[in-house]
């Protein structure tokens, strides 16, 4: 007898987060076997019936990104062919989100490709968080819920940054200005902007601060911290301009390459990331790293999606 109940499957990229979400929902993760054949092809066995059930597959775009993406696609496809009623891909950190435009001749729009691949695999719905550009929602022909880490970020600032009332919210680049102003407005704080000249991907040359941070706490806000070159330089620019302390709050802490050593050697007081991407191992090496748990938001989004309730509440509130 099918009950059209929630089934949560965890891909291998971030089982910890999936576990937290399942605990929040008061259910257990459903059984799935994910392994690789000797020729390195990914194979998946769905361990229980999903016929006529509401399936959620949690897989983040991190680590071995192509392997994890392929795994997600095969899991979706396996549930599809096993007659699931609806399949929702829960992708806290959307892979290839930065390849979202044809910024030079013959550049691929890989984010669109990933969107198409998810659709063709059989995803009926996508839940993600802080897309690099919200336009990516338009790449899909299925509904996409782009959740925000902002409410959780606000809560963190209020609770964990002592003198936040005199702080300045800083965007490390022009593209993030909207995100930063939104937070500044909500907290009723000032706002500054760093303009950077970028020569090539992951490399930054010169930075100019627009706005005043002298004698204040500066809070850098961005959607993604990868190699952290930008953040390190931005923090230095802020201190050079008289900021007393510099925090960085970032939704997706990918922290690849030399990120950990860059952070350790930077003037950053703290770097705060959400757990959309696993970073437990990096926390050991990097005492400045702090985590915001967003599993509650994901869990509530799943619950509301399942029950057909509105998720807009989550855009401005942290669920209890």
């Amino acid at each position: 007898m099918s009950t059209n109940s929630i089934k949560i499957f965890a891909g291998s990229s971030h089982r910890h987060l999936a576990g937290l979400v399942a605990t929040r929902l008061g259910i257990e993760l459903s059984k799935v076997g994910v392994y690789k054949y000797s020729n390195q092809e990914t194979a998946v066995t769905i361990g229980e019936s999903v016929r006529d059930e509401d399936v959620y597959i949690i897989q983040s775009g991190s680590g071995e990104i192509n392997d994890n993406l392929m795994e997600l696609l095969i899991m979706i496809n396996a549930c599809k062919t096993a007659s699931a009623r609806r399949i929702t891909a829960v992708i806290p950190c959307f892979p290839y989100a930065r390849q979202d435009k044809k910024d030079k001749s013959r550049a691929p729009i890989s984010a669109k490709l990933v969107a198409n691949m998810l659709t063709v695999a059989g995803a009926d719905h996508v839940i993600t968080m802080d897309l690099h550009a919200s336009q990516i929602q338009g790449f899909f022909n299925v509904p996409v819920d782009n959740l925000y880490a902002e409410p959780c970020t606000l809560k963190y600032i209020k609770e964990c940054i002592p003198d936040y009332r005199s702080a300045v919210i800083v965007s490390p680049d022009a593209g993030g200005a909207k995100r930063a102003t939104s937070i500044a407005d909500r907290l009723d704080l000032d706002f500054a902007l760093i303009h950077k000249e970028r020569k090539k991907a992951n490399e930054v040359s010169r930075m100019v601060l627009v706005g005043d941070v002298r004698g204040k706490v500066a809070i850098l806000v961005d959607d993604m911290a990868d190699t952290c070159g930008t953040l390190g330089l931005a923090a230095k620019t802020l201190v050079d301009n008289g900021a007393t302390r510099v925090y960085a709050i970032v939704t997706h802490g990918i922290l690849s390459g030399k990120a950990v050593s860059v952070i350790n050697n930077s003037v950053l007081e703290k770097i705060v990331v959400t757990n959309t991407v696993p970073h437990e191992s990096k926390k050991v090496e990097c005492p400045k790293l702090d985590t915001i748990d967003i599993s509650a938001t994901l869990a509530e989004a799943i619950r509301r999606t399942h029950n057909g309730e509105s998720v807009s509440y989550l855009f401005s509130h942290v669920p209890e």
Binding site: S12, T45, N66, R106
Partner: protein, 418 residues
């Protein structure tokens, strides 16, 4: 070739270079890198506007990365207004996962086909698909080339006793492939049948408790792989058995007549017994596909039996791919026990993962392993054994590309080595 661009993915540049040389057409520039977060980055270095684009990318040991790379390359060319994009995929990845062989399994090969279409591929050229039915997965034209003519040519040139050899399939699923080769060489064929003790008792819990571990141990993996392979083959056999059986009987019977003195193991001396064996197998197949047969990792007692005779002859063990060689080595052992003079292993795709080549090198049963260069076999791997021969099939691909570009028929390539 005018208005044509050839691109090579990073999986198998050696083959791509050979193809380009044979076509006398240079490979075009493409920058393939990974970002710091390991996302794949592609930059097409030349204009492809209104060009006929061919992208050569095979499977490899990092199959997901290379598949993604291919998809992004296709997508980049598509959005750069290429007039037609042909993906040349010598070894089609995920081709073994081409049917739902267990409850709730994914048809990953179909998924890959869909992904290629959605990325913007207009045409696909590949070789020796695991099951030719996979051609139906695509809603684009697909040319499934065959390595058989090249392998046959190699046999004629390099196996001294080939006229008296026997082509052997190590399972029922490969019989079609083997009979076709036997016909073209004008020699006999035989078949190895795997009997299984159906003690499928291990509970589902074994698998689920193992589930979180991503890479199972080698031993388990092997078993899994073999099981999968054979189960798969059995299903194929089940489907085709009815059609093939009459024909098969006839041929097997004649084989048995020729060598009536040979005590063929496991009572396959007469056609009626053969048919009984096959009926039993059909029942097993039905069991597997209908029941809750989640325990695919069962410990099985395998008993091989040879149908046909190889006494005093050279045996050519043929299959479409060789990954872990255990089933091949078991079959080779069986063949030697049945009096074969020597065993050659012939396979199109030489995946040869893990310690496959060491096992082959140390096995006294195998004289030679022959594969084609559809799948990259690194120089380091080749050094591990002196028994490995890699046949170059780049000419088949270059000719297929030339003919596709010029709108000529490619059927010629199905029967002729070039």
């Amino acid at each position: 070739m005018r208005r044509t661009k050839l691109f090579a993915g990073s999986s198998h540049r050696e083959l791509a270079t050979l193809v380009a040389q044979r076509l006398g057409h240079p490979l075009s520039n493409v920058a393939l890198q990974a970002f710091a977060n390991r996302e794949t980055s592609v930059h097409i270095g030349v204009s492809v506007r209104n060009e006929d684009v061919f992208i050569i990318q095979s499977g490899s040991d990092t199959v997901n990365d290379h598949l993604m790379e291919l998809l992004i390359m296709v997508n980049a060319c598509k959005s750069a207004s290429a007039s037609r994009i042909t993906a040349v995929i010598p070894y089609f990845p995920y081709s073994k996962q081409c049917k739902r062989k267990k409850e709730r399994g994914a048809i990953a090969a179909k998924l890959v086909a869909n992904m290629l279409s959605v990325a913007g591929v207009d045409h696909i050229i590949t070789m020796d698909l695991h099951a030719s039915q996979m051609q139906g997965f695509f809603n684009r034209p697909i040319d499934n080339l065959v390595a058989e003519p090249c392998i046959i040519r190699w046999v004629r040139d390099n196996v001294p006793e080939w006229q008296d050899a026997v082509v052997v399939s190590k399972n029922a699923g490969g019989v079609k492939r083997v009979t076709s080769m036997a016909d073209k060489l004008g020699i006999n064929f035989a078949l190895i049948h795997t009997d299984r003790n159906p003690h499928r008792q291990e509970a589902w819990s074994t698998l689920s408790s193992r589930a979180p571990s991503r890479v199972p141990s080698d031993a388990e993996d092997d078993e899994e792989d073999e099981d999968e392979e054979d189960e798969e083959d059995e299903v194929v056999a089940g489907a085709e058995a009815a059609v093939e059986q009459a024909n098969l009987h006839h041929r097997l019977a004649s084989v048995n007549e020729v060598s009536a003195d040979d005590a063929v193991t496991a009572g396959s001396g007469a056609p009626s017994d053969v048919s009984k064996a096959r009926e039993t197998k059909a029942v097993v197949v039905a069991d597997e596909s209908s029941g809750e047969s989640c325990d695919r990792r069962v410990k099985q007692v395998q008993r091989l039996s040879l149908v046909g005779s190889v006494r005093g002859r050279v045996a050519l063990l043929v299959d479409d791919m060789i990954d872990k060689p255990h089933s091949f080595l078991q079959a080779a052992e069986q063949l030697m026990q049945c009096g074969a003079k020597a065993v050659y292993i012939l396979a199109t795709h030489g995946i040869l993962s893990g310690n496959a080549l060491q096992l082959i090198e140390t096995s006294p049963m195998v004289r030679r392993v022959v594969v084609t260069n559809t799948f990259p076999v690194s120089a380091a791997k080749r050094q591990l054994t002196s028994k490995l021969t890699v046949i170059d099939v780049s000419s088949v691909f270059s000719e297929a590309i030339r003919r596709t570009h010029n709108g000529e028929s490619v059927s010629f390539l199905f029967d002729h080595a070039i």
